[in-house]
């Protein structure tokens, strides 16, 4: 084999701590290497042309590029060698940037290690064979997990493009957190007026199948051909019959059920439709409070329901869906406002969370849109907002910025002054983060036009005194301690990863950061892709963000799916396991270990059994290769011989 070696300097990224010229010179001493050079940026157009020229002029049969991680540019170089007439698998990459130059400043040691990496790549390449992809059809149906605004946008955009969409939502209604908001910053438009029509669109689109009260149970398969199990949790109401008339909710005798949609500020019934604009508008029974389940008798709703939809014997259902792509839009949870002992959230009824205040402001909220204190229903005169509760605080393991609480406080303060012109609003803040379009102007309006008192400093303690709450804080601009006698305190809680986010990530085989937010494939250039092909991200599940960004990501994820589905077939990855039938002893161990069910029995003439790999199902993990006692199963492009060749040169 005639091999060419190309050592990239990556500007000074590699050349700064590795003698790339020396690495290239040493490469020339290895068997089969007939050409070696070092270049400033091998991935650039002239860099790629240099490789292609060398392939032609030197009659190269294999190419090694020593540069960055193959995750970065292996596809780039494979395309380049293919254009020059080589098979794309006659190429190897040695990672001398992430694995060498970036981790040490010792130039001699680095150069030695880089040369060894190149030597290993050459040794492996000598055993490479051309491999060829086959084509598999794409199932042009998309699964969207999460029916908040990001998921709704993604589902609608996919449906508009003519795709079949399955939208799965954990709660009884879609709408997510946005459905709970009163108004939205910085335009003060009504949240349900702008979200409501989109929610209605979801049920009106014929090609969206909505499944609420549902969670993804398991996921198998791969890009283009996923198969998904969905658990539809029982609601004890047959939704094919329920008309959403609400009679059951009106008559249900179990009246002390915390209303989660109103952030537990009011009560609902054991059978309920979560909110007036719910989609679908169907009733659900809360088993924990329903007297039929707690006391064993009641059945009022069952007797009254005009269509006979109530069924106490109903059980969870399982639905199987085959899809070609998955968009994850599972959103977030609010930080628990009772976590700070010094603020007394949870102990004092008039210390509430930002989302609770949102429900108080909302016309469909527990107080019909009138601002009242939860404790005694009195109109508050002095309202204090505390920013960064559960944001930018390492002591509660939330070192990141929620990205929204500065803005929603400004909005809530403006709305408060609109509702109660005589009320005084105080905002304790660390910094004001308002980088969006028209955002800073909005905060300025709160300060200048609406007379909201902004105090730069943290609150140290909140305690009740007489009928008030005393808020002790610091004004760090004046350098004094301040005390505000407040009637109501709103803790501007930050955001955290949704409950169950980690478990779902494991089912989808995508990664998450230490706080449970899903990892995008590249923080700048691949913001909605994950490292699992065919799985995309939208909204806050990827990291804290506001509504415009969530909607933009929903559309971006939908665009990625549209691009994927614009082809009819996908090229398979030929790096799969292959059985050498002459060596196979039919022990069946490979079938046992394969996590993807990609190996099955095959009967030869005379009833002899042999293992057979289904290339379209095989993910190339190599477990069978490692397990097979006679080494009959070999993972293509990563065979035992190739790995041993690498080790041999390293140990020689």
């Amino acid at each position: 084999m005639r091999i060419g070696v190309f050592v990239c300097q990556c500007g000074t990224n590699i050349a700064g701590t590795v003698d790339t010229e020396s690495v290239a010179c040493q490469a020339l001493q290895h068997p089969d290497v007939v050409y070696a050079t070092s270049y400033m940026y091998t991935c650039s157009e002239p860099g790629q042309q240099q490789i292609q020229r060398a392939i032609k002029e030197e009659n190269l049969q294999g190419v090694v590029v020593a540069a960055c991680s193959p995750r970065m540019h292996e596809p780039t170089f494979r395309r380049a060698v293919e254009k020059a007439g080589l098979n794309r698998f006659m190429f190897e990459m040695a990672n001398i940037r992430e694995h060498v130059s970036w981790i040490s400043n010792d130039r001699d040691a680095n150069t030695k290690k880089a040369a060894e990496q190149v030597q290993m790549a050459v040794a492996k390449l000598r055993f490479n064979h051309p491999l060829f992809s086959s084509k598999v059809p794409i199932n042009k149906k998309v699964l969207v997990i999460g029916g908040g605004v990001a998921g709704i946008q993604a589902a609608l955009d996919c449906a508009d493009g003519g795709l079949e969409v399955v939208l799965v939502e954990r709660q009884p209604s879609i709408g997510g957190k946005m459905a709970k908001l009163d108004k939205t910053f910085p335009t003060i438009d009504c949240s349900s007026c702008i979200l409501g029509p989109k929610m209605v669109d979801v049920v009106q689109k014929e090609n969206i199948r909505l499944s609420t009260c549902s969670e993804v149970e398991s996921v198998s398969g791969y890009i283009g051909n996923f198969s998904v199990q969905i658990r539809r949790k029982t609601t004890y109401v047959d939704w094919s019959l329920c008309t959403g008339c609400g009679l059951c909710m009106e008559k249900c005798p179990s009246k002390k059920v915390p209303d989660h949609f109103n952030e537990d500020l009011g009560n609902t019934r054991a059978i309920s439709i979560p909110f007036p604009q719910a989609i679908p508008r169907k009733a659900t029974i809360d088993k924990e409070y329903c007297r039929q389940f707690t006391k064993g008798k009641c059945g009022v709703c069952k007797k009254l329901c005009p269509v006979g939809a109530i069924n106490f014997e109903m059980e969870d259902e399982f639905i199987s869906e085959d899809v070609g792509a998955i968009i994850v839009a599972t959103g977030f949870d609010m930080f628990d406002h009772t976590s700070y002992g010094e603020y007394g959230g949870g102990r004092f009824p008039d210390v509430i969370s930002g989302l609770q205040y949102e429900r108080i402001l909302s016309a469909s909220g527990p107080f019909g849109g009138h601002i009242k204190r939860p404790s005694d229903g009195r109109e508050p005169k002095n309202i204090v907002f505390v920013a960064c509760v559960g944001s930018r605080d390492a002591s509660v393991d939330r070192p990141y910025c929620s990205g929204v609480c500065c803005m929603y406080i400004a909005k809530q303060a403006i709305l408060t002054r609109d509702h109660l012109p005589d009320a005084n609003c105080y905002v304790f803040y660390m910094d004001i983060r308002s980088p969006g379009k028209n955002y800073d102007e909005f905060v300025r309006r709160a300060q200048e036009e609406y007379g909201v008192n902004y105090i730069r400093g943290r609150v140290g303690k909140i305690y009740p005194k007489d009928d008030h709450l005393i808020v002790q804080g610091a004004d760090t601009l004046l350098g004094v301690q301040v005390e505000v006698k407040a009637d109501l305190v709103v803790l501007a809680t930050g955001v955290e990863a949704s409950a169950g986010a980690r478990e779902l990530a494991e089912k989808l085989r995508i990664s998450y950061d230490q706080h449970g937010f899903y990892m995008e494939s590249h923080p700048k250039l691949r913001p909605v892709e994950t490292n699992t092909a065919g799985v995309y991200l939208a909204g806050v599940c990827q990291g804290p963000k506001d509504i415009p960004s969530s909607v933009a990501q929903g559309s971006a994820a939908a665009a990625k799916v549209q691009a994927l589905f614009s082809r009819d077939t996908l090229e398979t990855n030929p790096q799969v396991a292959l059985v050498n039938e002459r060596a196979c002893v039919a022990c069946g161990k490979c079938i046992q270990v394969c996590p993807f069910g990609a190996i099955q029995w095959k009967e030869l003439r005379g009833g002899i059994q042999k293992a057979e790999v289904l290339p379209s199902v095989c993910q190339g993990c190599g477990l069978c290769n490692a397990t097979c006692p006679p080494k009959a199963v070999q993972l293509q492009h990563c065979t035992d011989n190739q790995i041993l060749a690498e080790i041999d040169v390293l140990c020689a």
Binding site: Y340, G341, E342, G344, R347, S395, K461, Y463, P464, K465
Partner: protein, 308 residues
């Protein structure tokens, strides 16, 4: 025999009393010993104990301070104790600080060199409050209450050090501690939700800038009275000193008479456990707690009568 031995081992705790408890806070020492005895906790005084390395040492050289505290820990380890308990939060901070230095890679060697004695660093340092709340437990104490503190309204005051800094103290909620609240409730008292439970008492400014202590301690006394508390319950000798010994100075500064006792948690639990007031050092307090002594004693006599 063997079983009995291990049982005894479990509640054997090294006792580091520190300098305050030999002097101004002698009643904290007396009541701690009495309460531990009543609860079957064997306190082993660390033989030949020395200064914990507080202010004079650590303002001169932090490593010296760590080594001084480390010597006490090393002796406690040598006599076979797994835990050292000290009632003084200042001493506790020093002892925990020494353990932190021991486990710090950069400081470990110079610390051991200065200490110059064997030390494994496996011993745990806790406060008497932590001992009562976690090692013994409120429910265990509840079972042994013979004179419940019914009719007493108490304000628990933790001060700054017992639960903070959170990662250092590793005990209770740093901003809203509840351990004393729960212990006192299980002893039958009415406990007010005291908002100033971790506010600053002025600490050592009592010596140099008295008016700061007068102002800060006054706020605490005022808040306790406004909530209807009859006494403030403390677990720190310095807090107690400011609230009790200096209360007459606070009175002068505020031009009013507060007259509210500041009692150690061990003294009150001791009363509830039926220990005689003399064995709890209640006579050592400056603001006399006579009225609630009477209340508590009267109540127990009534109970006795009712029982007979």
């Amino acid at each position: 025999m063997r079983i009995e031995r291990t049982k005894r081992m479990k509640k054997r705790v090294a006792y580091y009393q520190g300098c305050s408890l030999e002097g101004l806070a002698v009643e904290y020492d007396i009541s701690t010993r009495s309460v531990c005895k009543a609860l079957d906790v064997e306190l082993v005084e660390i033989p030949d104990w020395n200064c914990c390395g507080s202010t004079p040492a650590h303002s001169h050289d932090p490593l010296l301070s760590a080594a001084l505290a480390g010597r006490n820990l090393a002796i406690a380890e040598k006599i076979g104790c797994e835990t050292v308990m000290t009632p003084c939060p200042g001493c506790l901070k020093s002892l925990k600080g020494a353990l932190q230095v021991f486990h710090n890679e950069r400081e470990h060697d110079s610390f051991m060199q200065l200490l110059a004695m064997p030390f494994a660093g496996e011993i745990k340092a806790i406060s008497v409050l932590q001992l009562l709340y976690e090692t013994v437990g409120a429910d265990q104490i509840l079972q042994r209450i013979t004179r419940p503190l019914i009719d007493l309204v108490l304000a628990p005051y933790y001060g700054c050090l017992l639960s903070r800094p959170a990662q250092f103290a590793q005990f209770d909620d740093p901003e809203n501690p509840v351990s004393m609240d729960e212990l006192l409730s299980s002893a039958g008292a009415t406990v007010v939700d005291f908002p100033y439970k971790t506010e600053c008492c002025g600490a050592t400014y009592g010596v140099t800038r008295n008016e700061i202590v007068a102002k800060l301690t006054g706020r605490i006394l005022d808040m306790a009275l406004s909530l209807g508390a009859q006494a403030i319950v403390v677990a720190c000798p310095l807090c107690q000193q400011n609230l009790d010994l200096r209360q007459s100075q606070v009175d002068r500064h505020w031009k009013r008479r507060f007259d509210i006792p500041a009692v150690y948690i061990t003294q009150l639990l001791g009363l509830a456990l039926g220990i005689e007031p003399e064995r709890l050092g209640l006579d050592k307090l400056f603001v006399k707690p006579d009225f609630f002594l009477k209340l508590s004693l009267n109540h127990s006599e009534q109970m006795k009568e009712a029982q007979s």
